[in-house]
Symmetry: C2
Subunit: 410 residues, 2 copies
């Protein structure tokens, strides 16, 4: 087993591995720590040639200790598509799109939940719950079903109905919440003891970050063991940014890559941009305790980027700053136009994926990107999952845990 | 270049390669013929370890001669998922599902159109048209956009609206047809000379069968260079069956596999089952000229399996018989139940994919499958693409080419 324990991303304290409670006493987020010398013994670049085209090819850098507990539906090793004709138009050295929508649940969320649910299985957990804007819920539902674990998902009422409908299809107990993702999270926190739920929300357990980390390792392998200059990523809770940053650090420590850290660019939608605002506050000298929390007047669309209170905003901001990256907000209109542009290139992109294209155009216009830059965008899901079809009538709508209980007991 | 020319699947006559008109003088279908000695020089099992995880890893067995003309969106090399817990329940030696919904356009149709559109590009074609029950249209639309080729798609009015909506998203000129897929095909045939369309319908050009062939090659590689005993496949026009059979023959001729031909099982839906009926007719001694054509009373759902007149029914039947396979029809109800069963395993399956599960259960019940059998099912698309959302109001509805012209001129 290559998994050694956990370490704090803020104060660096190391503790033994545990499955729940990822907050360090200092308030930082705990992440998985590996014995990289052991990793290097069996995971070599040559060994990878013979491994499956799945994110589990990097099993030594994933925290599941019992191979029989791996819960897989065919996730990861998604195509990295070059957009050559746009490189010239936009004056970039390289432009790529990572097609995360080609994962088993039609979104990048498959990666995190493949690891998280494997850890649930290893820990003999029987009930898992998640608050989600849709794709995380559908991924938990699918992987939990595959593992024979009961899943309970709580999704804001205005989230895309087709994604919501996937959850009961996969066998999840599904509730719509009259509120935002933090309201959904509050319901789980209120009920978890009573109901026996393990909360697998963002940064609540170690698996999802580790699963998202494989996006970074894969990117490096697909580019010939290097990173691009810039990664533009649609950011909500931030586990993807944290994961890819961790991939960079681990590959660097293994001596597999020589390049600088990629500049991480977080893209959000206007109307819910805590990362953009947090970065501005920090640039103006505010310390972490002065970072804004729950914004009033959230007006952005119900996508994966709408996370008013990322669980560890400070860590995301540190990564972005450390990398020389930035955070930008784009408008609904820019996102819609970007979706059309990508569609006309043969790519079905979710609003989140489209937002990275809109962000790319903004950064090209502003001169932030330079002609020598290689850039990778992430298309996190299919456009069609966001098609309008109305709220499923069959699902209950609740505001809080009391209403949940009332419904269950009715 | 490994592509040598075309050969007739019925009379074996060889002719030089051409892009259009795949009917031999004898009435058989022309298929691509390769110089397998040349193929073997550069395509070795070892060489494949270092190639991209895309169907283009088999480029020597694909008919595109100019590598710059390859039009790719990240297709093929889809996961093959083992269903271990069902092997015991169903008493089978191995049960696998090939997850074709993880292709770039969310369906197996990506494969055929990646090759077909590459050939269009190589042939400097500027306008392509296809009759389709949905997924072929959306695949043509996506790949044609990527290649800068104009696409024109004609889809029966009752086909899934979300798939229909993808076509204009990808930039295709999209028409709904008040009729079946053969009515849509008739419109293209009537207009192709006037409009400059190349018809890329099933078996109209050599690329789609070759692209679908990669499903078979991949399956063999993923299983360690062997085929399963049985392949259960949802069949409409039949290019997938023809392609996988061709994969078997070519791999056998290369000496890469030693196994017997897999038994091909075609699954259709009750209410449109020309393959099931054709097989029955042949078993009763009917010759190919007596095969039934356009059935009256088509009552099956608008899926990819609803093809009342497969372009070369005789070839499909010959392959099924040669392989020791069979053809079965399942009901709407069985398909719906199978979709639930697969969903509860974490798999989002299209009605076509669900039909293979329903077919599997039928063949287990009847004793046709034996406990020593290894079986592979194909899930050809995502469930969500088939969600109801109503006919898009913005699209024209036509019955024939005259109405098309009237609309265009209005």
């Amino acid at each position: 087993m290559t998994r050694m324990g956990l370490y704090c991303s803020r104060c660096s304290m190391q503790i033994p591995f545990r499955y729940q409670d990822m907050k360090c006493v200092c308030g930082g987020t705990l992440l998985v720590h590996y014995d990289l010398e052991s990793v290097a013994k069996t995971m070599t670049k040559e060994a990878l040639w013979h491994r499956s085209s799945s994110m589990w090819r990097y099993k030594e850098l994933l925290p599941v200790s019992d191979p029989d507990c791996v819960v897989s539906l065919g996730e990861g090793w998604t195509p990295l598509l070059r957009m050559s004709n746009w490189e010239q138009k936009l004056q970039l050295s390289e432009l790529w799109i990572k097609r995360e929508e080609q994962n088993p649940t039609g979104s990048f969320k498959s990666r995190g939940f493949s690891v998280a649910v494997s850890l649930l299985k290893e820990s003999k957990v029987t009930k898992a719950a998640v608050p989600s804007n849709g794709n995380a819920a559908s991924a938990l539902a699918a992987y939990a079903s595959r593992a024979g674990i009961a899943s309970f998902v709580f999704i804001p009422l205005d989230c895309p109905s087709l994604i919501v409908e996937e959850c009961p299809l996969y066998g999840a107990s599904t509730c719509l919440v009259d509120g935002f993702i933090h309201d959904a999270a509050a319901i789980i926190e209120a009920g978890k003891k009573d109901q026996g739920w393990v909360n697998v929300g963002t940064l609540k357990e170690p698996g999802r970050v580790e699963g998202k980390k494989t996006m970074g390792i894969e990117l490096a392998e697909q580019l010939g063991w290097t990173f691009p200059d810039v990664i533009i990523y649609p950011t909500g809770g931030g586990s993807g940014i944290i994961g890819m940053w961790k991939a960079y650090l681990e590959l660097k420590a293994l001596g597999w890559i020589q390049c600088d850290m990629p500049k991480f660019v977080c893209v959000q939608e206007e109307g819910c941009q805590p990362i953009v605002e947090g970065l501005r506050s920090r640039r103006n000298g505010a310390d972490r305790n002065a970072l804004p929390s729950v914004q009033a007047g959230i007006t952005s669309s119900p996508t994966g980027m709408r996370v008013p209170n990322p669980p560890d905003l400070d860590l995301i901001l540190s990564i972005v700053e450390q990398s020389g990256g930035t955070a930008i907000a784009v408008s609904k209109q820019q996102i819609a136009e970007a979706g059309q542009t990508l569609g006309a290139q043969g790519i079905s992109s979710s609003p989140e994926g489209s937002a990275t294209w809109a962000g790319l155009l903004t950064l090209c216009d502003s001169g932030w990107l330079s002609p020598s830059d290689s850039v990778v965008l992430f298309n996190t899901s299919h456009a069609m999952k966001y098609a309008a079809s109305g709220v499923p009538d069959s699902l209950p709508i609740i505001k809080n845990y009391e209403e949940y209980l009332r419904l269950r007991n009715a």
